[in-house]
Structure formats: structure tokens, C-alpha cells
């Protein structure tokens, strides 16, 4: 599976307008240079992708745990969309199979209560 990333984590007029997690943009050097990184994903589901990403970020020193080990579901700090649809609205949710060209968007959920 090839994962396309925003390599520098920068947001420009030409780039993403609503980047939510700039620190998650390719913290490993080769991805920053090439703008694209490749990762071997065991399985073809959304869950497998997120698990692989979490492991990759962990190796790069970024503590990113989108799947809560206690609930085995998305952690409440994050949301994930596949082709602009929230994962809870697609059949099979996190276990949905991904196909070529699917666009997965990860968002951090901010805290608003006081």
C-alpha cells in the first residue's frame, strides 16, 4: 500500500486548508524529502492501516495511538474519514476493506468544555 502524505506538515494556499494534525505529517526523513512514503500493511482494512501507521510513527518518536487498546475502537481523541465519510457510517467501520485510490483522513478532536 502506498501512503501519500503532506511531507513538510506545512499548510499553504495551495495545500490543505484544514490540516488538523501537522505533527503527524511524515516525521521520518525520507518521506519529508519525497512527499510519499510506502508502508507494508498486514491486511487491507482501515484498522490494519491505522495500526501500521501507529507503529511507524512510534518508530519515528511520535506517540500516536488512534485505536484505543482498551476499547479496540477509535480513540476518542481522533476521528477518521474514508472518502469524506466518517468510519462509523461505512459498512464494517474500522474493519472496512480499503481499495486503491481511497482517501483516508485523520482528524484530532479538540476539547471544548470548560
Amino acid at each position: 500500500m502506498i501512503i501519500i502524505v503532506n511531507p513538510a506538515g506545512k499548510v499553504t494556499r495551495e495545500g490543505l486548508l484544514n490540516i488538523n494534525m501537522p505533527w503527524l505529517c511524515a516525521p521520518w526523513p525520507e518521506a519529508r524529502e519525497e512527499g510519499v512514503c510506502e508502508a507494508e500493511v498486514e491486511g487491507d482494512t482501515l484498522r490494519a492501516l491505522l495500526t501500521t501507521l501507529a507503529e511507524a510513527y512510534k518508530k519515528a518518536g511520535v506517540d500516536f495511538e488512534p485505536i484505543n487498546p482498551r476499547t479496540n475502537d477509535m480513540d476518542e481523541d481522533y476521528d477518521v474519514l474514508v472518502n469524506d465519510k466518517n468510519y462509523v457510517t461505512i459498512p464494517d467501520g474500522l474493519n472496512a476493506k480499503l481499495k486503491d485510490g481511497d482517501r483516508v483522513k485523520l482528524k484530532i478532536l479538540w476539547r471544548w468544555d470548560g
Binding site: W110, D113, G114
Partner: protein, 244 residues
Amino acid sequence: MLDRDELVRYDRQLRIPDFGEAAQKKLKISHVVIAGVGGLGCASATYLVAAGVGHITIVDFDVVELSNLNRQVLYWEEDIGAKKVTVAQKKLSRLNPTIEITPVWAEITEQNASSIISGAQVVVDGLDKLDARLALNAACIRQKIPYVYGGVSRFRGMMTTIIPGETPCLACFNPEGPRGLGVIGMIPALIANLQALETIKLLMGQKPSLAGKLLRFNGNDFKFRIYDIEKNEACQVCSQGLLS
């Protein structure tokens, strides 16, 4: 100049070598606005008053309700139905009568945010709505006043320090997230005390610890996570000057 009572009252912090009388005098002539005196604001106001910040403006449009009492520790059962800012002013003045506390009973909006924060050295977030926070954020950027964001829900909290012209602002992230999820009272107390500490550092002239960084605390696993965050060059609030 610190008088005899002040030297005694603040003795424990005056003993800190990189604090001392110089920092205490800076606090004494400082003005901080606390926007919202709910779970966050009650705790940050208490500790900033106790520390000796000379002038504190507290802003809120709400009245005390029974459901506030699990976390908003300035309010007691006898205060139910009273304006939060009135009760908070009374209690905070009893804690430290040397502090000037200005209560403002108002909801923060785009229209009034600038006038409410005018003259402050730091604005501390204690709000519970995104639109009010964005109004406050924009006013702080316009007036070049540091804004210490804090937000909580359930067992978790977040915080960042926004320095106009230097760090990302709240609008840089097009932030999203649900509200009204409930919260355990220790979480706003924890986040608010970090906000208060950051405010003291700003007032002392020290480098803030969370400028350009986002702190997230998860009370489920007791992990603090701190991430670098960068300005959004397309931000309509803080980066307009950079785009043609």
C-alpha cells in the same frame, strides 16, 4: 514595592531563586483576563489570585447551578442561582483582598471580545464554546495579547499557548470536536493550573513552555503528550498578512 504583609503572604514563592521579589512585583502590576469562570476558570482564578496577580478580570454570563458543583469549586450550594462572576469576585477577594478583581457579566462575542481584553497582559481561556473561543482568539491576535487555550472533556484535557505573530493561533487548525461530553472535576483543575503556571511565566517574562506546542492529557492512562504545532499560512486570522 512589596509591603510587610506581602512579603509574608508570598514568602514561599519569594524563596524561589528565579522568582523572587522582581517577579512578584511584575505580578503585582499585571492584568490578566480570565474568560469564563467554570471548571477551568475557577481553578485558574484561584491560583492567580493566590499568587498575587494584581488585577484580574473575570468574565462569564452564567449563573450557578447544582450541576456545576462537581468541578467549579468557587461555588457552593448557597450560591445556586447567583451570578458566577459576583460569587467568584466575593470568594476570591476573601482569599486575597489585595487583588483588584473586576467582574464582567457578559457572553464573549466577536463584538465585545476586543473591549473585554483591552489592557490585559495575558488572556486565560475558561470558556466552553468554540465560537466564543474563536472570537477571543481573533481579538488576542489583533491586540497582540498572549492567549492560553485550555479545553477539557471526560477524562481528558488540552492546552496550548498562543503568542500572536509567533505561534499558530486557534483558527490555524480549523478545530473540530464535540462538546457537552461531561467531565470529571479534576481534569479542568489540572489543565487550569497548567494554564495558570504558564500565565505566571509569561508575566515574569520567561519563555512559555507550550508556545507552538499542543499538550494533551489523558486521565485514563495518565499520559501527557506534547506535540509541535505549526502556523497555517492560509489562516484567515493570524496569517492574512502573509498571503497576497
